[in-house]
């Protein structure tokens, strides 16, 4: 009798381990995204019997180490990534496990960002949030200088003029700062008419690109943009311009929606707000982007991994996630119905609305923004543009040489 009982116990426990999976999820957070996911995962764990082990890491780990881990076979089951298209070859296609009509209807705009450049209709990841680039302004500075802020629909030239006035009235060292990456640079460049691609092949330097490059170098020469920004970086390195906005060096920071939480917490000694993305002859360009949760092919538990991603993508969960992390949702149904951001500060709520509107304007007037975001080698271009434009600013190269170099270097970096 004892023996039979033991066998019975063994069999049941063995079948139990087959059914319940333990998933490893590598996550990074800007504010509280991973904590929120961990919190929400509890009900999924309870209903499925699976376990989700969330390992919260710094963004650098995702950006610099994850790909090597994937190649060396030490991959987690799930991860929250930002290089959406670049890691495609490692993704698990969720299509067999999820309701694709629901996904296409609600995430149709962001699904292509995860896909191969052509002929791919797989479903690879849940866009946790949309991020959109756009400017923050120091309201106190504008008030102190007695300068009126340009209205919605104003151009970059209008804003440059207004910032020039603020700068001279208050004796600032600079007026406008922009993070050192082509991701932030692209929005204004679209506004000046840069197309960035022709039928899916990057053609960076066209007339619009050249026009904005001239303007941008000019802004540095006249001192509207600070020496601590782009000129202070070497090579393809990224530089965050937020410290220049926080310490009052500049009156405007061209950044993105991910900074809302940071500024809301850290800015205490002046008034700030998000303003609509400035426009230009080419439209009102802003870069969309964001991060998503993906599962990897190498996982032992594809069904469980897909089930968790599907769980998070459901309307009520997507809404809960967006509301608790103060993010713009990628869920198209929720975008229409709106999300209740009660509990966030008025500045953040207003900022979220403006950023969401920026994304809409960019979709209407500068569709190349969505192409560039989805282009699987965009990360290489993000670094190459600052590398040579900086040389044009510091005078190491003429602008013509720099633009020719951008074309040549991008061609070499995207060659297969």
């Amino acid at each position: 009798m004892k023996r039979i009982l033991a066998i019975f116990l063994f069999v049941t426990s063995a079948s139990f381990t087959v059914n319940s999976a333990e998933l490893k999820f590598i996550c990074y957070q800007d504010i509280n995204e991973c904590d929120t996911i961990a919190d929400m995962a509890k009900s999924w764990e309870a209903s499925t019997g699976h376990t989700l082990n969330i390992e919260t890491v710094g963004y650098e780990v995702i950006r610099e180490q994850l790909e090597n881990q994937l190649e060396s076979g030490a991959a987690p089951d799930l991860a929250r990534v930002t290089n959406l298209g670049g890691l495609n070859k490692f993704y698990l296609d969720l299509k067999p496990y999820v309701d694709s009509s629901y996904w296409e209807a609600n995430y149709g705009a962001t699904l292509p960002w995860y896909r191969k450049p052509s002929g791919d209709d797989g479903i690879y990841g849940w866009q946790t949030q949309l991020t959109v680039t756009g400017p923050y302004v120091n309201v106190t500075m504008f008030e102190d200088a007695g300068v009126d802020m340009p209205e919605e629909g104003a151009t970059w030239d209008d804003w440059a003029e207004a910032l020039r006035q603020v700068k001279s009235e208050l004796g600032l060292t600079a007026g406008l700062a922009l993070d050192r990456t082509a991701h932030r640079w692209a929005g204004p460049a679209f506004s000046y008419g840069a197309k960035f691609h022709e039928n899916g092949t990057p053609i960076l330097v066209d007339e619009g690109f050249r026009k904005f490059s001239e303007v941008f170098v000019g802004w540095h020469e006249e001192g509207l943009m600070p020496a601590e920004g782009w000129p202070a970086g070497a090579g393809t390195s990224y530089r965050n311009a937020a410290p220049l906005f926080l310490d009052g060096t500049v009156a405007m920071h061209m950044s993105g929606s991910w900074m809302l939480g940071n500024y809301d917490t850290n800015i205490t000694d002046f008034e700030w707000k998000v303003v609509p993305i400035p426009c230009g002859p080419g439209g009102c360009g802003a870069m969309p982007g964001g991060s998503g949760i993906v599962a990897f092919k190498s996982t032992q538990h594809p069904e469980a991994a897909a089930s968790f991603i599907d769980f998070m993508s459901q309307t009520e969960n997507a809404e809960k996630f967006a509301a608790s992390t103060s993010n713009i949702t990628a869920h198209q149904g929720l975008q229409k119905s709106g999300i209740d951001y009660t509990g966030v500060s008025p500045n953040v709520a207003e900022g979220l609305a403006i950023f969401a509107a920026n994304a809409g304007k960019a979709a209407d007037t500068t569709p190349q923004a969505y192409w560039f975001q989805g282009y699987n080698k965009n990360f290489a271009i993000y670094g190459i543009v600052p590398d040579y434009i900086t040389k044009a600013i510091t005078g190491e190269m003429t602008l013509d040489e720099a633009l020719a170099a951008i074309d040549a270097d991008v061609a070499a970096k995207i060659a297969e």
């Binding site: 610099e64 970086g233 090579g235 061609a411 070499a412």
Partner: protein, 351 residues
């Protein structure tokens, strides 16, 4: 139930068995202390008995050789592999053999994949040129200053220990802390610009670390400041190993201090100076941490390789191969330099 036993008493059990075996093996040992040592250290005594004294050193070296091989030699060979293959992956199974393509990509004027101007060769040459300028100034300046400091601090001056500590202190700081401190001084709104403006020496604040005409000066200055103490300490030890009676004899002969320095101190310090030169030369070529954290306006060889390999930002199809090839070229250059160093050292000894 059986799991419980394992979990609870496992380690006690193992230790008991270990000591028991030791107890059995050490039966013939005389004396309590020796017996105790044998009980504890029986595996080594057993190894010695089994292998004999001749091969025992290799047994001890084995773990270290294993680690050394795994983390030094294996990457070295992998680097060779990367330099002659293409692909984003670090897995050799998904990298294609490409022969000397990466060499072409790094030295030719025309890019072989696109057929238009190559940008990589300019970047590589610029990083070599800049690194050589850095080494050319940094090494001699540091050795001369370290030597002067060591000679001064070897004399009977007031507060000698204090001054030695002052010069050695930066060595103990982390490179990132060094960079942070100097950034506070050298940024545009930093201490230096502010002070110079107050004295009316300059009209406009200067971004010392990135201004093309200043970035190299401050790179050399800060790097020397941070590493001076280490070389000073070695030279100080060298100075103290020179026998005092030589100086006494020279003094009795009426030799001037200057002559004593050139004829006694310097020749006897020469072997130490050579060590210091070789060490600082190698260190200067490898300079990275401080320069990276300072975000200086030039790209050193190490950061060129680091960046091209795609270790920051996105990988490119050829990046890893190009970086591996670049590192091999640099290695070749350093080997040649080391050989020159050997040759010069030998000549010194013959003299």
């Amino acid at each position: 139930m059986s799991e419980n036993i394992l979990n609870f008493n496992y380690w006690y059990f193992v230790i008991f068995i270990y000591l028991f075996i030791g107890f059995l093996l050490s039966k013939g040992v005389i004396g309590n202390i020796s017996r105790l040592m044998s009980v504890i250290g029986w595996p080594i005594e057993l190894a010695q008995r089994l292998s004999g004294t001749k091969s025992l050193p290799y047994l001890f070296l084995f773990p270290n050789i294993l680690i050394f091989g795994l983390f030094t030699f294996l990457p070295l060979f992998m680097n060779f592999g990367f330099s002659v293959t293409d692909g984003e992956s670090i897995n050799f199974s998904s990298r294609d053999y490409s022969g000397s393509d990466n060499l072409s990509r790094i030295i030719l004027e025309t890019q072989i994949d696109t057929g238009i101007e190559n940008m990589e060769d300019d970047k590589f040459k610029a990083s070599i040129a800049d690194t050589f300028i850095f080494v050319l100034f940094q090494v001699p300046i540091m050795i001369v200053v370290a030597l002067i400091t060591a000679v001064v601090l070897n004399r009977e001056i007031v507060g000698r220990a204090f001054w030695r500590a002052v010069y050695f202190y930066p060595v103990m700081l982390s490179p990132v802390v060094v960079a942070f401190l100097w950034t506070l001084i050298l940024k545009r709104q930093g201490l230096l610009s502010q002070t110079l403006m107050e004295w009316n020496w300059i009209d406009q604040p200067i971004q010392w670390l990135t201004d093309p005409s200043w970035t190299m000066f401050w790179s050399v200055f800060i790097y020397t400041w941070a590493h001076l103490g280490f070389y000073m300490l070695i030279l100080l030890a060298g100075l103290q190993s020179i026998p005092k009676d030589l100086y006494e004899a020279a003094e009795m002969d009426g030799t001037s201090d200057q002559r004593a320095f050139w004829r006694i101190t310097l020749p006897l310090l020469m072997p130490i100076l050579l060590v210091v030169t070789v060490l600082s030369l190698i260190k200067a070529f490898q300079a990275f941490e401080e320069l990276f954290a300072l975000q200086v306006g030039w790209i050193s060889l190490v950061s060129y390789i680091f960046e091209t390999a795609g270790l920051r930002g996105q990988k490119t199809t050829f990046g890893l191969g190009i970086a591996a090839m670049a590192s091999l070229l640099v290695a070749l250059l350093l080997i040649l330099l080391s050989l020159l160093q050997f040759y010069l050292t030998r000549r010194q000894v013959k003299l």
